[in-house]
């Protein structure tokens, strides 16, 4: 479905060049939920943005459904994958109602029957008609993230990219959003790539998980192996230990 070979991303130039991602290769199967974890600055979000085409200077061989997607993307390329950002407060246009936000992608791609598509997209994410004509500042954080997910799915993309979709939300809302994503994934047979620093979230949603550190891929493990601690690298073990310690401290 998605293959990346030797992805490197650098920011800046000359002496101040920063290697955000160094030589990462990944492949994600169709219908799979793929997670990427790592601490802050490990390059996990950059990998996701490179897949979406948001990072300009990535010299890589990226193929989506067997078609190269490294260069300039066409509208059809864009429709293959949609992105859900971390912060629902920043990802909705402050002067557009929910209705306008959902209408825009339909207008860009010239899809018919926007009324029904919008109504359906809203009900899919558990929002009612009373939310349809509200502005973002009239919605809660969880409702905004639901709008962002509805907006991403209204184009019916086969691939959904999620960049820490719950980390800006209250703990009580996080579970709701994660269950929503899980349910929508089943219903739409989506391929998901989820980036998070939270091992629990990733282990809950994903089949396979890539662990990143300092811009490099440490290893790729299955969710079951991650849960049972059956991993090869010391860094992954330390990461698991750290998250267990946190859980114990909470208990």
């Amino acid at each position: 479905m998605i293959d990346i070979a030797d992805l490197s991303v650098t920011f800046g130039s000359g002496n101040r060049v920063v290697h955000a991602v160094r030589g990462v290769s990944l492949s994600v199967e169709e219908g799979e939920s793929f997670g990427i974890v790592g601490e802050s600055g490990s390059g996990k979000s950059t990998v996701l943005k490179a897949i979406a085409g948001l990072v300009p200077n990535s010299n890589t061989h990226l193929t989506v459904q067997g078609r190269p997607a490294s260069g300039k993307r066409t509208k059809a390329d864009r429709r293959l994958m949609q992105f859900v950002f971390q912060d629902p407060y920043a990802s909705l246009h402050p002067r557009q109602t929910v209705d306008e936000a959902l209408r825009e992608p339909l207008a860009i791609h010239g899809l018919d029957d926007p009324e029904n598509r919008i109504a359906q997209a809203l009900s899919e994410v558990g929002l009612g008609v009373e939310h349809r004509f509200r502005y973002p500042h009239q919605l809660s954080g969880g409702q905004r993230q639901r709008v962002a997910i509805a907006r991403a799915l209204i184009l019916r993309p086969p691939v959904l990219l999620l960049d820490e979709p719950t980390s800006a939300l209250d703990v009580s809302v996080q579970a709701e959003i994660l269950n929503l994503i899980s349910r929508l994934k089943q219903a739409n047979r989506l391929t998901i790539i989820l980036v998070s620093h939270d091992l629990g979230v990733v282990a809950h949603l994903c089949n396979r998980i890539a662990i990143m550190q300092f811009g490099k891929l440490v290893e790729v493990v299955s969710a079951a192996d991650l849960r049972s601690g059956n991993v090869t690298s010391d860094y992954t073990r330390a990461l698991i230990e750290a998250s267990r310690g946190f859980v114990r401290a909470v208990d």
Binding site: K75, A90, R95, Y135, L155
Partner: protein, 301 residues
């Protein structure tokens, strides 16, 4: 169950796009009215518009053009409420009709300056690179000249007249708008909601017009309102120097200019249009300040 219009507008779960938009406007309106200075400014501007529309009625049959040399430079009296000028024309009527000239200038300058400034600024800010550099250096060239001097040069080159004065003022007034629009665009362009439309496959023009410009609009409107006083004064200055409205058009700046030779003996000739310029400038400044408070995103929530 019936709901009042105010309740319908303030409803936080609007049932249609129209209700949402009108509700937003209504909230903005209430914020302006709640601000005394802005309300005063708004009333002054509305009065100016009313005076311009109803000038013939308010003048009570007096003509702004009828000369009566026997009555030249007459002091304010029951017949000529605000006196007469050097050709015996009624200053009250001329000041009322002058509101039309001022409004015309203000309107024409706004519809020229705002689109030019927005187009140049958003293109430069969004595209960056050499487009940004070329457009901003052109802007710098215009900014390098003192505004009135540049307007004078344009007005002199184009020839005197209101239309040319408007063009001259517009040519000198747009650069600050381009700067504001560029600065706003750079902030907006990096935000997630613009990335979202990029990922949806929107074209650059669509992103600029539908997503970036609406957010730049509020600061441009505020700046334009605050600039109105300056524009009116520049127009009056051009009129004063004989490069703006031509006789017998009752333009306030030209009227002040005509009265300056007799300012010590017949003070009303220059003072009355001067007061009109002052009040209208004040009105636009007050409204501009109020709009800035209303549009300020930090105060919004």
């Amino acid at each position: 169950m019936t709901v009042s219009l105010a309740e319908w507008l303030m409803d936080d779960r609007p049932a249609s796009r129209r209700q949402a938009v009108l509700g937003n406007l209504y909230r903005g309106m209430r914020a302006i009215i709640a601000n005394p200075a802005a309300l005063a400014g708004l009333i002054i501007i509305l009065l100016l518009v009313a005076v311009a529309i109803f000038a013939p009625v308010l003048a009570l049959g007096r003509s702004p053009f009828a000369q009566d040399l026997a009555q030249r430079l007459a002091a304010p009296s029951a017949v000529h409420w605000l006196g007469t000028d050097e050709l015996g024309r009624d200053i009250y009527a001329r000041t009322l009709y002058g509101a039309r000239v001022t409004l015309t200038i203000v309107f024409l300058v706004s519809i020229i300056v705002a689109p030019i400034g927005l187009a140049v600024g958003t293109l430069a800010g969004y595209l960056g690179g050499w487009v940004d550099r070329v457009l901003m250096r052109i802007t710098d060239v215009f900014l390098a000249f003192p505004r009135l001097v540049l307007a004078l040069a344009f007005a002199a080159a184009l020839g005197p007249g209101i239309e040319n004065a408007v063009i001259a003022i517009s040519l000198t007034a747009w650069p600050p708008y381009a700067r504001i629009a560029r600065a706003e665009t750079i902030t907006i362009a990096g935000s997630d909601f613009i990335q979202v439309v990029v990922l949806q496959g929107a074209s650059t023009l669509r992103i600029l017009f539908r997503h970036v410009v609406p957010l730049c609009l509020s600061s441009v409107i505020v700046r334009l309102t605050l600039d109105m006083a300056g524009i009116i004064l520049t127009a009056a200055g051009l009129g004063f120097l004989g490069l703006g409205a031509q006789p017998p058009t009752p333009e306030w700046g030209a009227m002040v200019s005509a009265g300056r030779e007799v300012i010590l003996d017949q003070w009303w000739v220059a003072t009355i249009p001067g007061i009109a310029i002052f009040i209208v400038s004040l009105g636009f400044n007050l409204l501009g300040d109020g709009l800035r408070d209303v549009f300020d995103p930090k105060a919004e929530r």
